[in-house]
């Protein structure tokens, strides 16, 4: 599969502060690449540099094999961008907004009308098409923002935190829409600090921190970087210090903590950790209301690599 985007040694500074630091990446055709990182990690700056919206200090950027520049109109025609900030006209209806932005790419009126209808359908705004942005809820507004960015059916789509501050229903709708775009053949760069979305959507993930790539791979490849195998949480009403220290003696246990009725036991390796935990609880007659096990998340990977949480 050929590369749609190739970025080599990209560097961008704001005064003394390096926002993007010698970053190189490639995006393959048809994949959803997740750019994951906390706020200020350089995700949006990287995206703006790739789009030629920002000057950068050094680096080479190629999209569809051509050098990207502000006047690379052929390349731009194949790109769609959904910015983090809602960028629509309050004076235009939902339909008018999509038609306007789509019209910057598609001149033919009949084609454009069809594309606008398709975009409305994709984001589930068919019934709102005659409403004005101020009449929409936050979630619906985000959907409109997405429709404006992708109505022209681009081959390469940048989505910059499109689900920030949306309700669960709209979030699901947006994520389903993104999957549909991928199924239709689009290559997608998805920046977010929501690891759950990355795990659901992305074929490959790049984790950024301080403008640098700190890890790259599929979800499973990244999770393998974490030194933990499993986290078991047990809801226990009461636990004495003696009982607590007893958990540390269970096979494969790395760490134990107890806070506000929740006992958290982290296993570094092993297969039947949950079963062993239950055995131990029974043997020591410790009453519990709920017990569940979790595989490591990308947040654990990030914690492992940087010593801080993704949402810090």
């Amino acid at each position: 599969m050929k590369n749609v985007i190739e970025v080599k040694h990209l560097t961008k500074s704001y005064k003394q502060n390096k926002a993007v630091d010698d970053l190189s990446l490639a995006v393959k055709e048809g994949e959803i690449l997740g750019l994951l990182g906390p706020n200020g990690s350089g995700k949006t700056t990287t995206m703006n540099c790739i789009l030629s919206l920002l000057k950068y200090d050094a680096g080479d950027i190629k999209i569809f094999g051509k050098e990207m520049a502000p006047d690379a109109y052929d390349t731009k025609a194949k790109i769609g961008v959904v910015f983090q900030e809602v960028a629509v006209f309050d004076e235009l209806t939902v339909y008018g907004n999509i038609d306007y932005f789509c019209g910057l790419y598609i001149e033919d009126k009949a084609t454009r009308a069809q594309y606008v209808e398709d975009a409305l359908k994709l984001v589930g705004l068919e019934e709102n098409k005659n409403q004005y942005p101020k009449q929409l809820s936050g979630g619906l507004l985000r959907r409109l923002n997405i429709a404006c960015g992708i109505a022209h059916k681009p081959k390469l789509i940048f989505l910059d935190e499109p689900t920030v501050a949306v309700d669960p229903q709209s979030r699901n709708n947006i994520l389903e829409g993104i999957k549909k775009l991928r199924d239709d053949g689009a290559t997608i760069i998805y920046t977010t600090h929501y690891m759950e979305e990355v795990e659901i959507l992305c074929d490959r993930v790049i984790i950024l921190d301080h403008g640098k790539i700190i890890a790259e791979g599929t979800n499973d490849e990244l999770k393998a970087l974490a030194k933990i195998e499993e986290k078991v949480t047990v809801e226990v009403a009461e636990l004495s210090p003696k009982q607590l220290s007893g958990f540390e003696k269970i096979k494969n246990v790395d760490s134990v903590s107890y806070e506000e009725g929740a006992l958290k036991v982290v296993f570094g390796k092993g297969k039947n950790n949950l079963a062993e935990m239950i055995e131990y609880l029974k043997a020591n007659r410790i009453n519990y209301s709920r017990i569940f096990a979790e595989r490591p998340t990308l947040n654990d990977v990030f914690l492992e690599l940087t010593g801080k949480e993704l949402r810090d």
Binding site: L53, L54, K55, P70, K76, L92, Y100, F101, G103
Partner: protein
Amino acid sequence: MFFHNYKYALKTLLKNKALVFWTLAFPFILAIFFNLAFARLHDYDQFEPFDIAIVRDDAYNNEQTFAAAFKTLTSGDERMFKAKYVDFDEADKMLDEEKVEGIVYVKDGQAHVKIKGNGTNQTVLKMTTEQVAQMSGMIDDIADAEQQRAGGTLNLIEVKMKAAEIVQNAQPKISDDSHVMNVVSIEFFTLIAMACMQGAMLSSEMLNRCLPNLSHRGKRVAIAPTKKSVVVLSNLLAGYTMLLGSVILLILFMRFVLGVDFGDNMGLIMLLASIGSLTATMFGMLLAVMFKMSDNAKQVVVLIITMVGCLFAGMFGGMKIFFDEACPWMNKINPVGLITDGFYSLLYYDDMTRFIVNALSLVALAAIFFVLSVRNLRRARYDSV
């Protein structure tokens, strides 16, 4: 692509309540207020000469042209004022006792008016004095030049005659029904100029929408495969269309609803308004390109600049004369002043030179604003967006 952009830009402008208010409704409201304020002056039958005091001292006598002009205005059947020539203390006392509506005096070579209250008579006295002072100054300048050319042989009496002649020519316009109150017309001229300049808000707003460093919508436009020149020009044209439309509506409203006298020069007035609107459009473009501010902040800046321009141009009474004398270059670069003066020259002078100079000055300003803006816009890539 150009038309698509233009169509939507115009649509969004027409639905933007704040911009519609400042560029369309506000000048209309002011026009109605002006009309109410000057209503009495339109009705010549109701216009009666009223009492004023003139401080006749050495300073007054030294301004011979001004004094001669006032003598004409205070004598004969068609006089405007019933003058009492007294010293300043006596005049002040008469004003306090409301025996006169105002005092005219000269100090340091400048004509001044002292009034109490803000009635119609006070306004007429103030505006007429300003007008006469301005004309007298012009006549003196011309006479000086003529005298220099004639080697100092020109008779002072001839200068006085000329002053009387000019004022006589001006007075029928004040009293003749076919040319109602040119003094009032100046206020309306300034109002049209103000409406033109307020239009800078439109082009500033339109540029904000195109540029990625100024708005989120600008980012979206900037990543589209549309040439920046097409986007910028179509947006500017939309702003200009709305501005020109509102200014033309304002002029027609003044002419046919309020009955403001524009003489027989409607075509040239429209032409100057369209040039003034173009200058304002380019000014708004420059403002947007040079300064990274919010839409609201830019609207406030345009409003302040326009109002200061109106002040220099004479919208708020006698400031025009003051600024013309204190800093004569000011109104030569002040678009409001140039537009107002262009209208004024159409009504007052048969010669088109002054009108053409004003129009060309506005074109030159528009060209300067445009070139400076384009220099900043071309190939701009941003440090931050």
